[in-house]
């Protein structure tokens, strides 16, 4: 996952309309912290930098370097699990 990658949810993966849960084939992933908010932003247009910028606006005072690292780490893990694609 790179800063200019455009991640999106894999086919057959979608956010539960109300709960902090990602529905995936044969199961669910419980989403903690701002994960739901991050996945909601994956619209196939925004790249990772756009997502980080958006998050920094929402969470004033957050450390930009830390947020960027966390977002990349999260998306990498979800890509390894096959629920996020670039």
């Amino acid at each position: 996952m790179e800063l200019n990658s455009i991640p999106r949810l894999a086919p057959g993966c979608r956010l539960h309309p109300t709960e902090s849960v990602l529905l995936i084939p044969e199961g669910t992933l419980n989403l903690t912290g701002p994960t739901r908010e991050i996945l909601r932003m994956l619209d196939g247009k925004r790249n990772v930098t756009d997502v980080v910028t958006d998050l920094l606006q929402q969470f004033e005072g957050a450390d930009a370097v830390e947020v960027q690292r966390d977002v990349l780490g999260l998306l990498d893990r979800l890509q390894q699990r096959g629920v996020v694609r670039t």
């Binding site: 894999a10 086919p11 057959g12 993966c13 979608r14 539960h16 309309p17 849960v21 529905l23 995936i24 084939p25 044969e26 199961g27 669910t28 890509q79 390894q80 699990r81 096959g82």
Partner: protein, 361 residues
């Protein structure tokens, strides 16, 4: 009698298995459907299923698995998918692919289908068709590139047993070339028709041992590309499986005629009666029907299970298997090394390549 670390008596089901029909163009030697299948004229109507899906979603069910038989045998399949999605459920379909066309698939995806599972019987056509009891292999292979044109999660299921386990590495390679999102490698479980063919399908110890590193290597190699899940053959284990996630804990199965079952094969256990979704609300069935109550919690357990710390992981194993092997559905699942019947498995593990296959009707 309730121990201090009792299993919570009532949880919310997460998945609903809707066996929409028992009609099927395939006659797989390992079919897990009951030997007594429901006839077409007893099948629930579209309206019945729509009501059931709404009740399920109200209870907190997340996943709907449309299966059978072959769901494509139902002409109202698009309506059933749409009803599942309208209720708020995630819709998965398990199909043989026989009867699918690009137009039909387009309608199913448009109706809200999110995940499709296709199983393969072997990598080589003659053998695959022999196991399926019909000529389905070429149809399945031809369907895959069509599937890939749609926005849909796609799982390939490799069903493995003595007859194909020696070719597991090549079998996985075939699946890999078809680029599914998920790959399930599942040993046959011995219920229904598979139980009838047990000695024919039973792998040898050597086959099972050789297969484990092959599966592990595939998991490692395909990481990030294809999500691999494997089901171990429990006849070769020392601890039982948490069958259906524990009796009456995670899932409900509705058969084509509307009977609500805690698992695929619960009807084999003597004295079971099943309530029907035509007569009762799903939530009532989940909470109060005798079938779901029967092995819920731990009151029924033997003292060995009751005092065992693993009971919250395996919930005492499989009740159907305990009954099939010992005649007592309350017995410890004989797969467990603590079962006084564990030695039975030695005899049941004997494979016999010479017996004649019995195909599903």
């Amino acid at each position: 009698m309730t121990s201090s670390n009792a299993i919570s008596p009532l949880s919310t089901p997460l998945s609903l298995i809707a066996e929409v029909t028992h009609r099927c163009p395939l006659h797989c030697l390992y079919c897990s459907n009951p030997l007594e299948m429901q006839r077409a004229e007893t099948e629930l109507s579209t309206e019945d299923w729509r009501r059931v899906f709404h009740q399920a979603a109200q209870m907190g069910v997340l996943h709907l698995h449309l299966t059978g038989g072959e769901p494509l045998a139902r002409r109202d399949l698009p309506e059933l998918i749409r009803a599942g999605r309208d209720a708020g459920l995630y819709v998965n379909m398990i199909t043989s692919g026989v009867g699918m066309t690009e137009e039909r698939l387009a309608t199913l995806v448009e109706s809200g289908l999110e995940h499709l599972q296709l199983s393969f019987q072997d990598l080589e056509e003659t053998s695959a068709n022999h196991i399926a009891g019909t000529r389905a292999h070429a149809i399945k292979l031809a369907l895959v590139p069509v599937l890939k044109r749609f926005h849909l999660a796609f799982t390939i299921n490799l069903v493995v047993h003595r007859m194909n386990l020696d070719r597991l590495a090549e079998f996985i390679a075939l699946a890999e070339d078809l680029h599914p999102d998920r790959l399930e490698i599942a040993h046959v479980q011995y219920y229904g028709w598979a139980l009838k063919n047990r000695s024919l399908l039973m792998p040898t110890q050597e086959q099972v041992e050789r297969s484990i590193p092959i599966v592990e290597a595939a998991k490692e190699r395909l990481k990030g590309k294809i999500h691999v899940e494997a089901v171990f053959p429990d006849y070769f284990g020392s601890f039982p499986k948490a069958c259906v996630g524990g009796w009456g804990r995670q899932m409900m199965l509705i058969d084509p005629a509307g009977q609500a079952l805690p698992c695929h094969s619960a009807a084999i256990i003597p004295g079971m009666t099943f309530d029907n979704v035509r007569d009762h609300d799903l939530a009532w069935i989940w909470q109060s029907s005798s079938a779901f109550q029967r092995f819920r919690g731990d009151d029924w357990m033997s003292p060995t299970c009751l005092s065992c710390p693993r009971k919250e992981r395996d919930f005492g194993g499989c009740r159907c298997q305990a009954f099939l092997m010992t005649g007592d559905p309350n017995a410890i699942d004989p797969v467990c090394s603590l079962s006084p019947h564990h030695d039975l498995l030695k005899d049941l593990r004997i494979s016999d390549p010479e017996v004649l296959p019995i195909w599903r009707d």
